[in-house]
């Protein structure tokens, strides 16, 4: 069945034909992150696809993956484009290397999962939290619930992890 949600006033939807995305977001709604694992070559992939990007196999099994990792890159949006985000600037978009499968299948590859920097309960982070995060920050996955059977994976600072003393940030604050 199609999924529908509303997030910050934005209408979100997934068509019922789109089985890969429906399954992905249903797991997210249970706050239980899953990715497709290829039945043939065994590699996980993100985001959902209809075939394995490495071996082209269409066969895959949804597999639980730990939502922990390190910020690979980021941006800080000060001028929002979408009306939904205008009252939340500056907000951060994080590209996070998951610990699972980092450096596979080749040195510069990783499961890089996008998300906003949020509080532990999945609300967009306030400015003082934004200023703490940079490349190298350890983060853990949390979820923003946006509809019945629909949640968005997000990232928050992993306070339980050993953090770099000074994550790399753009030189101009």
């Amino acid at each position: 069945m199609a999924l529908q949600g509303n997030y910050l006033g934005m209408s979100l939807s997934i068509d019922d034909l789109d089985k890969e995305n429906i399954t992905y977001f249903k797991h997210c709604a249970e706050h239980d992150f899953h990715l497709q694992k290829c039945d043939d070559c065994g590699l996980l992939r993100y985001p959902p696809t209809t075939g394995c990007p490495w071996c082209a196999s269409p066969r895959a099994t949804w597999t639980a993956v730990e939502g922990k990792g390190e910020v690979h890159s980021y941006e800080e949006v000060h001028h929002a484009i979408q009306p939904a985000f205008k009252s939340h600037t500056p907000y951060m978009v994080l590209l996070v290397d998951l610990d699972s499968q980092k450096g596979q299948p080749s040195e510069h590859e990783a499961l890089r999962v996008v998300g906003n920097l949020t509080t532990a309960d999945g609300a967009l982070a306030p400015p003082d939290m934004v200023r703490q995060v940079g490349i190298g920050t350890r983060v853990r996955m949390v979820f923003s619930d946006v509809g019945d059977g629909l949640s968005l994976p997000q990232w928050t600072i992993d306070t339980g992890a050993k953090q770099h003393p000074k994550p790399w940030r753009y030189p101009q604050e």
Binding site: R45, V77, H79, Q82, R112, N116
Partner: protein
């Protein structure tokens, strides 16, 4: 400059220089054209035919690209009185120009038509904003877009910034170095009477302009304008009868991509751009290398995009792009000027076609600056590049255009003076 002929190439050597750009046409670069994209497109096409010295009815092939923000060949052909033997309207933005020139060569080589016009017509400021503002930004988010737009990750600047930021982290590239791209292009634009922004900017101007999406300041981002551009391509043997010195097409790479080009940065390193792969098609096809190029047109949707492409096509070592773009090499009067029209950062925005047009003018030795006209109707270039002066590159023979769609995909073309 001698051009090697014995390089091992993937394009049959007989295609080198066999086709040429013979006509170029533009509308004004403006905000608020007060015209439909259909009217803008026919304006540019008429100018291109006049520039080539042919009748618009001599055009028998047509290609265009847009992102559901323009008109199609279906309307253009009738409006310029042409009956077409081939046409195709493609989806796409940056990187389409060079790729479609490659398609034009292919269809002429296949005997499908003789003279192809390419156009891009857009009200990029007054109708459909390229940055995604206005109506585009408020459209519902569905399907695969939940992995991007739901995070406020939508506009080009927002989508590309992870690559830009990581480059600074890995290579120590500084905001001051990158700002020099805007500084240099603004100097060039100040010598281009048709540029939308003709003001010269300093590094301080760039760094003190407001942050749009860190690492991008307002002045790191290109201008949005209303305009149309057109290019006419035909066989070089036919080009000899036309009005201008032809710009011979030496080699092309079209929409060449990294693995997994769905904008989720799964294939790394993420500081690597499509040009890393395109260079291995471009240079062997053209039979030249970066050292042979007299001027570049490295797509500047953002200051960073010029730099990243110059790096990955081999104009400098990987990671040394910041040094390259701030060294003076890319300035008029430098070893290899980049975007002598002012590019997208200053002249105006038509998804790369205006940068190809600029290099065609440069190769004709007829840049439309403020230098005085001689008795033959051609400008008498002074090569004095001070503000308001000349922008012709002296004795230029070979150019490279490096087109950008996004960090994953790029196109490129080498041209030489006929």
């Amino acid at each position: 400059m001698p051009l090697p002929t014995d390089t091992d190439v993937s394009t049959p050597k007989y295609l080198r220089d066999k086709y040429a750009i013979v006509g170029i046409g533009e509308t004004t670069y403006t905000r608020g054209s007060d015209k439909t994209t259909r009217a803008l497109g026919t304006w540019a096409l008429r100018n291109a035919a006049a520039d080539a010295g042919i009748k618009t009815s001599d055009i028998d092939g047509m290609l265009s690209y847009s992102n559901n923000d323009s008109t199609s060949a279906t309307f253009m052909a009738g409006d310029i009185g042409a009956r077409l033997n081939f046409y195709m309207d493609c989806v796409g933005g940056g990187s389409s120009t060079e790729a479609l020139i490659g398609i034009a060569i292919g269809v002429m080589e296949a005997g499908m038509c003789n003279c192809v016009a390419l156009f891009r017509a857009m009200n990029g400021f007054s109708q459909v904003r390229i940055g995604g503002t206005g109506a585009r930004s408020a459209t519902p988010v569905s399907g695969d877009m939940l992995h991007s737009r739901a995070y406020g990750w939508q506009s080009a600047g927002q989508m590309f910034s992870p690559t830009f930021m990581r480059h600074m982290y890995e290579y120590g590239t500084t905001p001051e170095q990158v700002a020099m791209v805007k500084v240099v292009h603004s100097e060039h634009a100040s010598n281009n009477p048709k540029a939308y922004y003709k003001k010269r900017y300093t590094v301080d101007d760039v760094l003190s302009s407001r942050i749009i999406c860190k690492p991008l300041h307002l002045l790191d981002c290109c201008v949005e304008t209303d305009n149309a551009t057109a290019i006419i391509i035909t066989r070089t043997d036919r080009a000899r009868d036309m009005r201008h010195t032809p710009a011979l097409i030496r080699g092309i790479a079209g929409r060449c991509s990294k693995p997994r080009m769905d904008m989720h940065y799964q294939a790394g390193p993420i500081t690597r751009v499509g040009g890393y792969y395109a260079k291995d098609i471009l240079w062997p096809n053209a039979g030249v290398g970066p050292e042979d190029i007299d001027a570049t047109g490295a797509y500047d949707a953002f200051t960073f995009t010029s730099m990243l492409q110059l790096e990955d096509y081999g104009f400098c070592k990987k990671g040394e792009g910041g040094e390259y773009v701030s060294s003076g090499i890319t300035r008029l009067g430098g070893r290899r000027p980049n975007n002598t029209s002012g590019g997208h950062l200053c002249e105006g925005y038509t998804h790369g076609m205006n940068m190809v047009i600029e290099n065609v003018r440069q190769l004709r030795h007829d840049a439309d600056d403020s230098c005085p006209l001689g008795p033959d109707g051609k400008r008498q270039h002074t090569y004095d590049y001070r503000e308001g002066g000349c922008r012709q590159v002296k004795d230029i023979e070979v150019t490279a255009n490096l087109g950008w769609a996004n960090p994953m995909t790029g196109s490129a073309m080498v041209m030489r003076r006929g």
